[in-house]
């Protein structure tokens, strides 16, 4: 691969995606909801399969059955949580039980969901026949996550950019393409200034400034993400994100929500156009090294409605 920037290309369109969503909706109704797992898998197969990098498309290998089993296990974990908290409430006292519930939920199930979902999705994605993988261990993540949550709470949110960067570093450093690891070299202090500025300006500008902060963070994160000798670069702008959001909102309003598929496609196209991979990386030499992963994290993500911190530009 030569040293010019490679941009992902998205070949999908709103019409096809709409067809998939409608079909999913009908089948979900008829099966009293069971079909959602297979429906979500279809959407991912389409979106990933229409995204190409250097001429070759991604492939998604997950199945609806895996998502369903993951959801069942996640339900089991939630039940366990409720039982444990309930036992604490009954045997010790009410306050302890409630505290235990929230502690286990936010410091246990949430990070588990984050990690598990990322691990599952990466393991089911391939490019040029090689699978991605995520090899971060849960215990190691907790060492980052729990102090981060505590410090953020104690500093009334000022620590948050540092926490966010630390999480991002953990997620990226432990992500692999075949045998090749991604690397993140960003620092919290680089983001802190912008974050404080955003906290001040966002309410003053009625929320408009937030788009500029999001664009900055997006550019910063991508430019500090590397694979082998190559590096990513993002050219999203605050104005671009704002315009994207406004037009999307307008589309949704005018079409009474039916235009959601087109909104999804527009957003993906925007992010693809503004992302590039530069540098003399020798990806042809990367070897296959797939890692097994179950879908319990995915199930938890659904149940807990967790927003995937550090999710790649699909945000699925």
């Amino acid at each position: 691969m030569s040293g010019h920037g490679l941009t992902p290309a998205f070949h999908g369109n709103g019409g096809s995606l709409f067809g998939i969503h409608i079909r999913n909706l009908l089948l979900t109704i008829v099966t009293f909801g069971i079909y959602t797992f297979w429906g979500r898998t279809r959407v991912r197969q389409y979106l990933y399969g229409q995204t190409a990098f250097d001429g070759d498309r991604l492939a998604y290998h997950g199945t609806g059955g895996e998502l369903f089993r993951g959801w069942l296990k996640a339900m089991g974990l939630m039940l366990l949580l409720v039982v444990v908290a309930g036992a604490a409430m009954a045997l010790v006292n009410q306050v302890v039980g409630v505290l235990l519930f929230y502690a286990l939920l936010f410091c246990g199930l949430f990070p588990l969901a984050l990690l598990g979902a990322r691990k599952y999705r990466l393991s089911r994605t391939s490019w040029r026949g090689l699978r991605f993988s995520f090899r971060g261990e849960f215990q190691d993540f907790l060492e980052v996550y729990i102090p981060g949550v505590l410090l953020t709470t104690l500093t009334l949110g000022f620590y948050y950019p540092f926490f966010h960067v630390k999480v991002r570093r953990f997620l990226v450093d432990n992500s692999y393409f075949g045998t090749e690891a991604f690397a993140f070299d960003g620092e919290g202090r680089d983001v802190f200034g912008q974050h404080v500025l955003a906290m001040l300006l966002t309410p003053l500008t009625l929320g408009i400034y937030w788009f500029w902060y999001m664009a900055f963070r997006n550019r910063y994160y991508w430019s500090h993400t590397a694979l082998d000798a190559g590096r990513f670069a993002s050219t999203v702008t605050g104005g671009g994100l704002l315009q994207l959001a406004l037009v999307n909102m307008l589309l949704l309003i005018v079409t009474l929500g039916i235009g959601y598929s087109w909104v999804q496609v527009r957003t993906i196209l925007y992010h693809c156009e503004h992302l590039a991979f530069e540098g003399p990386a020798d990806l042809a030499a990367v070897r296959q090294e797939a890692v097994a992963a179950g879908a319990t994290g995915e199930g938890l993500t659904e149940l807990l409605d967790v927003d995937l911190v550090g999710a790649d530009f699909f945000g699925l």
Partner: protein, 375 residues
């Protein structure tokens, strides 16, 4: 429309072990795909080992894989290769689908879903009511009677019940004699000035004093009683309960609600509303009229009474109680009048004037409060 069938395709091959792409040429033999490198190296993939991963939707290239954990991948931009494979190797047709089949599959899904919705509608509109009617006909009478007794106990305050003269029982018996004999009709008079009457499953008929006093002739009362008794004979209440149970269970299945007993109780509670559908009301009108005719009772009283109720709903708010559960329309009153006019038999009088006054005074005799003025 092609002049000569295509025999070779350009593709890209990945060996599943490193991320290197190899441009290849693909040709079809009778049993396998022949994949040839630029330098002449050739491998064969037999059709039975191939998995198609992409290519089933328009705009997708054909992506084929072979192998388990680290599969080899072959991507061909032109999905036409899939149809060609289906033609060359018909034994393996089912493994390869392209976008042209997609439209058929989509239509099949849409047709399937529509059929499911139509079937659900048919079950709801016809099959469940039919089953409810059949089951109701086979229910032991004692079950209906106990259901009816519970309804009456809910609706009627036992302290308000008035003793009534035997002549009222004889009136009910004269009407009941024309029915199929399955039910033993019992009448109860309640000392409440609202204008209402109803019959519960199993044969309990309840009449309120307000209605007794509003009726001017015994034929009018007989008309109301015949209508209510037909609701019992035709099992409208019982069928309504039996219809509701499967419907509520269907809803419970969809919403994953486990309270079975609650749903049965809820279904029975619909009886308390005493509301039957328009169809049931019209049927009770018609059959009630026939019941009067079989009993040789002058049928005009029924139409007259309902007509009077309709007129007086504004003056007498308590009349609304009856009308709310027995909606009347001009059309229905006219139909009743038409049926009455068509009767050609000689009616036999129900009772003498003193007996009628006895009935009307049923509750007054036991010291019940006088009706408020304005009735």
């Amino acid at each position: 429309m092609h002049s000569s069938p295509r025999t070779d395709w350009e593709g890209t091959y990945f060996d599943g072990r490193v991320a290197e792409r190899h441009p290849v040429t693909v040709t079809l033999t009778a049993a396998s795909l022949r994949i040839e490198w630029v330098d002449g190296k050739t491998i064969l993939w037999s059709y039975g080992e191939i998995r198609q991963v992409q290519g089933a939707r328009p705009g997708e290239p054909a992506r084929l894989e072979r192998g388990g954990d680290e599969p080899e991948v072959l991507v061909v931009d032109d999905p036409g290769i899939l149809q060609a494979v289906r033609e060359v190797a018909p034994h393996y047709r089912n493994r390869f689908t392209d976008a042209s089949r997609r439209r058929t599959r989509t239509r099949a899904v849409v047709a399937g879903v529509t059929a499911a919705v139509v079937a659900a509608g048919a079950v709801y509109l016809w099959i469940i009511p039919l089953l409810a009617a059949r089951v109701a006909a086979r229910l032991p009478v004692t079950w209906e009677e106990s259901l009816g007794r519970r309804v009456v106990a809910e609706m009627v305050d036992s302290a308000a019940i008035c003793p009534h003269p035997a002549v009222l029982d004889r009136l009910v018996a004269r009407l009941a004699a024309t029915a199929n004999g399955r039910y033993a009709f019992r009448v109860t008079v309640v000392g409440d000035s609202i204008v209402n009457a109803f019959a519960a499953p199993g044969g309990s008929v309840v009449v309120y004093r307000g209605l007794l006093e509003l009726a001017e002739t015994p034929e009018e009362l007989a008309g109301v009683l015949a209508h209510e008794m037909q609701h019992v004979v035709l099992q409208h209440g019982t069928r309504a309960v039996l219809r509701e149970i499967p419907l509520r269970l269907m809803v419970a299945a969809v919403t994953a609600d486990a309270g079975f007993a609650g749903h049965v109780a809820g279904a029975a509670a619909t009886l308390g509303s005493l509301r039957y559908g328009r169809q049931a009301e019209e049927e009770a009108d018609r059959e009630g009229m026939r019941m009067l005719q079989r009993a040789r009772v002058d049928p005009r009283g029924m139409a007259t009474f309902f007509g009077r109720l309709q007129e007086r709903v504004g003056d007498v708010p308590r009349v609304a109680a009856y009308l709310s559960t027995h909606p009347r329309t001009e059309a229905r009153i006219e139909r009743l009048e038409g049926l009455a006019a068509a009767a050609t038999y000689a009616a036999e009088p129900l009772m003498g004037a003193e007996a009628w006054e006895e009935i009307r005074a049923a509750c007054a005799a036991s010291g019940r409060p006088e009706p408020r003025s304005g009735l």
